[in-house]
Symmetry: C2
Subunit: 207 residues, 2 copies
């Protein structure tokens, strides 16, 4: 009984790698079977359809994401430190997979593929964005963000930064991507704190 579960987990592990690299739609029963050294039908029996396999993959990825990114960030004091931790965690998690964050890949993959998989993914993405919003909210309550900060807006801007990082990192592998992201994050945090950026104080504007 436990053997079946172990097997299933290792299949999912393998599927996660493929999904992060080639996309969730590219996770094929045959390729998974070959990677697991078993027959197509044997593997197929663990899931009842490809659709179900994809959903289970997303579910499994969600658990890892929650465990490695969100939960440890919530253990850090609310406010700027928590936000920094979240970004660090996200970078580490995303960098751990060959093809980067599976949700980013899956999102572009399924944005125009209606069905249960997209529905599930959408729900996860909304939950993630809401996590970002709530973390911003807690930053206000902790006194790190100004009271009138727009938390939805913050979620959008921070997520955008992660997406930019993801593309630069996975496609371009630009060497200073980390630096770029770091700099942008600092500016973002400053903007929501309401403290003018140091550059803004300088005489500014010139030919």
């Amino acid at each position: 009984m436990t053997k079946g579960i172990d097997r299933k987990l290792s299949i999912l592990e393998n599927g996660l790698d493929i999904a992060s690299r080639l996309g969730l739609e590219a996770v094929t029963i045959g390729s998974l079977a070959k990677a697991a050294n078993m027959s197509k039908s044997g593997l197929f029996a663990h899931f009842q359809s490809k659709e179900n396999l994809q959903i289970e993959l997303l579910k499994y990825a969600g658990e890892i994401f929650s465990r490695d990114v969100v939960v440890p960030a919530l253990a850090v004091p609310a406010g700027i430190p928590r936000i920094r931790a979240l970004v660090e965690n996200w970078n580490r998690y995303s960098g751990a997979m060959t093809g980067g964050c599976i949700f980013v890949t899956a999102s572009t993959d399924f944005k125009d593929r209606p069905g249960k998989v997209k529905d599930f993914l959408l729900q996860q993405q909304n939950a993630w964005i809401d996590s970002l919003r709530r973390i911003a909210r807690s930053a206000i309550e902790a006194g790190d963000f100004r009271k009138d900060a727009d938390c939805y807006q913050f979620a959008f801007e921070l997520y955008s930064l992660l997406l930019g990082f993801h593309l630069y990192y996975t496609l371009l592998d630009s060497s200073d991507t980390q630096k770029r992201q770091q700099a942008a994050l600092e500016k973002l945090l400053r903007a929501y704190q309401g403290i003018p950026a140091p550059a803004d104080i300088s005489p500014g504007a010139g030919g």
Copy 2:
């Protein structure tokens, strides 16, 4: 002779739609043939391989992108106005395709598929990012950005914004995405101008 070209163009047009929705890898000879009401082999003859078809698709998309996004922006006076025009153009162009910007989709699709297609795409993406950088540079020269502004950093941050917009728009279809992007753009521009953000002045939505 012109008939062949027309046909080819309409095939590419069709392929662009599929590529923007389902991804560049999902552009299949069979589906294209069905859409064009012709045989697989007849369509195939226009390109010599699927790889070549994909590259021609990217090339065609690049021409449209240049014509509709970059060139008209360069006709606008350098500086902030040009940047605004660029973003507007990008939004219009991206919104015109069912699945949004084909390059965004293709980027996540091919980030881990080595080959000529990826090479070509990479080259296009680098050119695009360099366009962003040069436009920032011209904003410095026009006096709209402060002299010490990091143009590479600006390219990263602006592109991130477009990516955020793309995901929100295509997957989430959040109704106020445009507003979110607009607000973020204004903050971005202000930051590079060196004018302190009216953070402590303007009311926010709270979260």
